[in-house]
Amino acid sequence: MVSHIKNALIAAVMAGVIIAPVFGLQIVRSGMQTHLEPEWDMVLMGMAIVFVFQAFVRPAFVKVMGRGERKFSMPVLNDTSRRAMIFLLIAIALIWPFFTGRAEVDIATLVLIYVMLGLGLNIVVGFAGLLDLGFVGFYAVGAYTYALLYHWAGWGFWEALPLAGAMAGLFGYLLGFPVLRLRGDYLAIVTLGFGEIIRLLLINLYEFTGGPDGISGIPKPTVFGMPMVRRAPEGETTFHEFMGWQFDNMDVIIYLYLMALVLALVTLFVSNRVIRMPIGRAWEALREDEIACRSLGLNPTNIKLSAFTMGATFAGFGGAFFAARQGLVNPESFTFLESALILAIVVLGGMGSQVGVILAAIVLTVLPEVAREFAEYRMMIFGLVMVVMMMWRPQGLLPMKRPHVELKQ
């Protein structure tokens, strides 16, 4: 009991240290002046809660749980129930936007973009073990491919989408060719530079890309050739006229959400299949031991290039969708911070783990939205989450469980 109290005291003091800057130093503005107004009662209350929890609740909880040596474990699903589960989840994801508000669907769309990007980077970093800090460069290539094709040639989203993926893939291939003989840190530095080069090019090719202003007025995707806008351009039928509906902006948002969902599911499907294929096994083998791979006749350059190209392609798709959703692209959206965020998603989720990446994408996108009221502390919370993760769960939220091919005895 004494040790519990002692532990709880330490925990309470620690909690106080952490809480104090948040609640203890409230900046209050009155007229022209701002002054600090510490809310010590809030800090004390927080410390009290931590103390009570550590001293009484947790030991009691441990006692109850420890009885009979029971341990919680994730339920094991067999193939049929897993499939049913997946279908259920997809069904929920499909129906859900019709019953909720505009802001929620908007955030969910953003989450799905990050899921797509996270899964793409997961191929490069998680599966093949190549640290890529310039992933946002490929995202930018995808976005600008659509934007420029629209701006200069009047292409629509669906025509531009495959090309955006292909273009980003091509950039991945071309970049990968010279740099993939580098390893670890060196590769990270070169890719970091690449991401910056793309951004600076976009800023400086003013005539072509619009420089810092970017390109605006990019149309949203059409539904089978019918635009989703209030008033149709000459000679075209809009989707709502065709359906006989009133125009509602919510429809557009739901449509974008559903499209992002489809794109994310395709990414998930492909990366899930690929890791079970020979090329996926080769990625993992290469991550483990490159020299052994070479001694068995595997060409490391080709294998790395395939991972790099595939990851970049998904980033390209994501980018094209991003451009269509925003209606505006400019280099500001493709800074290094974005690369870092995508990498954080992969690391936080557990490198190589697809479910983990999805979970982390949700956490890292929704958390800042929820915490909007204390926006000043967003970065602090973000950092805190990272530190806590690295201390207690360095392997990520849901560490990769490798899909084993089993040999029946």
Binding site: R402, E406, L407
Partner: protein, 255 residues
């Protein structure tokens, strides 16, 4: 009728001021076990690395079945049928035993992206063949019961056997073993000798061997080359080598 499979002539490897290998010359026939022995630092592994394409030799010609392979990158050398093991076992430790053998078959199986995504019949067939092939080798090596374990968790002796299986599954013409007996107990060494004999007889593979364990080398090799300070001292059948005064001098020193 046996013919020359691997031919190495005038091989020299220089690292800066150090002449690690100097004028090495030998050939391996397609049905023989050829061993390279010598004191530590004699340049045996350097010869291996040159032959396997891991180093680019300073001078020299290496041909495999008449085709020059010096200067080729190592994965191309491997595709010519020249596959090696490593002094300190290099398995893919976090992959399962089975997956180690599947990766090794990469060049023989259907790696087409589209057919894999769609699981076409051709893709399934190729995967099943690869599995069956792996199962065959696991049976042969007597490690099938560990098929679904991570390779890094195997006992050391089993890891050695798995590494040899992983080489053999690529269907090599020349198997290069770099100190395969290191770290094995006497029983495992006897098994290894039997294994090398069996591989040569049943799978038409020539063996190039580096080894310190004299009883293994003498028991299994057809011919032996002795190296010292990067130079070959002598090449001959085990009995010649055993009694050669220069060899005894190299190993025991002059009195």
């Amino acid at each position: 009728m046996s013919k020359v499979l691997l031919q190495v002539s005038d091989l020299t490897m220089r690292f800066g001021g150090l002449l690690a290998v100097d004028g090495v010359q030998f050939d391996v026939h397609d049905d023989e076990v050829f061993a390279i022995i010598g004191p530590n630092g004699a340049g045996k592994t350097t010869v291996f690395n040159c032959v396997g394409g891991f180093y680019k030799p300073t001078t020299g010609v290496i041909t495999m079945d008449g085709k020059p392979i010096h200067g080729m990158p190592s994965h191309k050398v491997a595709r010519e049928g020249l596959v090696r093991t490593f002094q300190n076992v290099r398995l893919f430790k976090n992959l399962t035993v089975l997956e180690n053998l599947l990766v090794a078959q990469h060049q023989h199986i259907n790696t087409n992206l589209a057919s894999g995504l769609l699981k076409t019949p051709a893709f399934r067939r190729s995967e099943e063949e690869a599995l069956a092939n792996a199962a065959k080798w696991l049976d042969f090596m007597g490690i099938r019961e560990y098929a679904n374990r991570e390779a890094g968790n195997l006992a050391y002796g089993h890891q050695r056997r798995l590494e040899i299986a992983r080489c053999m599954i690529t269907r090599p013409r020349l198997l290069m073993l770099d100190e395969p007996a290191a770290g094995l107990n006497p029983q495992e060494k006897r098994d290894l000798q039997q294994l090398i004999d069996q591989l040569r007889r049943e799978f038409d593979v020539a063996v190039l061997l580096i080894e310190h364990d004299m009883s293994l080398v003498m028991g299994v090799s057809d011919r032996i080359m002795v190296m010292e300070h990067g130079r070959p001292i002598t090449t001959g059948v085990p009995d010649e080598v055993r009694t050669d005064p220069r060899v005894i001098k190299a190993y025991l020193g002059e009195d």
